[in-house]
């Protein structure tokens, strides 16, 4: 099954991570979520994901837009 896509290119911190967190909550672990985001959101989104125990399993980019594949880890902070 294709992982759902969450586009947060129109959002700013802290809504960027809030939306990612909500997106992950709708996925049963160990499921995956694709997140499309701008360069300036990378640091906060990735560091918050790592802090909460999720994993970024793939990264690709189209210019200044990045696409992260995030794994909703079973042991992550709810």
């Amino acid at each position: 099954m294709t992982a759902p896509l969450l586009d947060i290119t129109g959002d700013v911190c802290p809504m960027t991570f809030v939306k990612v967190k909500m997106g992950l909550q709708r996925i049963v672990p160990p499921g995956k979520l694709n997140v499309r985001l701008k360069e300036e959101a990378l640091k906060n989104v990735i560091s918050s994901l790592k802090t909460e125990g999720h994993r970024v399993t793939n990264v690709s980019r189209e210019g200044t837009i990045f696409l992260l594949e995030v794994e909703n880890s079973p042991g992550a902070i709810k």
């Binding site: 990378l42 990735i46 990264v59």
Partner: protein, 291 residues
């Protein structure tokens, strides 16, 4: 009062006011931290000897203004039991400023108050060619403005790239605020330019695969900064230092260089304009046994 008498008073932190016969009494504060009994004592002193006012200075200090000259000795004696000493002025090492550091601030890399205490204990009030200000910022967010001080310190994270699982995804390069990370010509390695890196650690925090790691979580020294009439920013010297003790040695050496090369009433930044920064670095490295 003669000018000579006033100079002596000023050295002891008694600052003459515009209003004749009155002084603003400068207190000894380290890193902007006071215990509540000390605050109560200062409050009581301001009520008793001043006019119930306290002035918070630009560099985390505290002064009690409006103290008549004949009460200066009494205010000093009143404050002493609570551990509040009077400050310094003139050509001396001044108040050491500090943020709350890693024990309080989530961004903190170093224990800034601990370093400030150590520096204060060793150097506060020591005579130098001109006023010498030292400030400690716990990280590169630099709340204590390290570059504005004659000697400034910042908490610093030096990154190290490790090859094994790096996918060259480009995240570290995208998040680096100074674009200090580049890909090698053959495309098989990432290179961090130490002259551009500002020690923020964003590349480490953001790396999805954990291939950017902390090489050193330590201290970076800046020298020659000042504000006042002719502001200039301090410049980073030496490499990233690993320990508080090593940093103390570096600061003491920086001060030694100023004592040896500074002219009376010449700020350290101006001394460095004459001598150049390499002379300072050679001197400090020799003192640290790194030559």
């Amino acid at each position: 009062m003669s000018e000579a008498d006033y100079k002596e008073l000023k050295k002891g932190g008694m600052m003459r006011q515009a209003e004749a016969g009155h002084f603003s009494v400068r207190l000894h504060v380290v890193g902007g931290r006071l215990a509540t009994p000390q605050l109560r004592s200062i409050q009581e002193a301001a009520d008793r000897f001043g006019r119930g006012e306290i002035h918070l200075t630009a560099r985390q200090g505290v002064e009690i203004p409006h103290v008549p000259q004949d009460a200066l000795a009494a205010v000093k004696a009143f404050l002493a039991p609570s551990g509040v000493g009077v400050g310094v002025a003139g050509p001396t090492v001044r108040t050491v400023t500090a943020c709350q550091g890693c024990r309080v601030c989530p961004s903190g890399v170093i224990d800034s108050p601990a370093l400030a205490e150590a520096v204060d204990k060793e150097l506060y009030g020591k005579p130098v060619p001109h006023k010498f200000k030292i400030g400690v910022s716990g990280c590169v967010n630099n709340c204590m403005k390290a570059e504005e001080n004659d000697a400034g310190i910042k908490g610093w994270i030096e990154p190290r790239w490790e090859a094994p699982a790096c996918t060259f995804c480009g995240v570290c390069q995208a998040v680096c605020p100074t674009k200090a990370i580049s890909t090698s010509e053959d495309g098989v390695a990432l290179i961090v330019d130490p002259t551009l890196c500002i020690g923020c650690g964003d590349c480490i925090t953001s790396c999805p695969s954990g291939n950017m790691r902390e090489k050193i979580r330590g201290y970076r020294v800046f020298a020659g900064g000042k504000f006042g009439r002719k502001p200039s920013l301090g410049r980073r010297i030496l490499g990233v230092l690993r320990t508080k003790e090593e940093t103390m040695t570096a600061i003491v050496a920086v001060l030694g260089f100023f004592r040896e090369h500074g002219n009376p009433r010449e700020r350290f930044g101006d001394t460095l304009q004459r001598t150049g920064f390499p002379a300072l670095e050679t001197f400090v490295n020799e003192r640290m046994g790194l030559s």
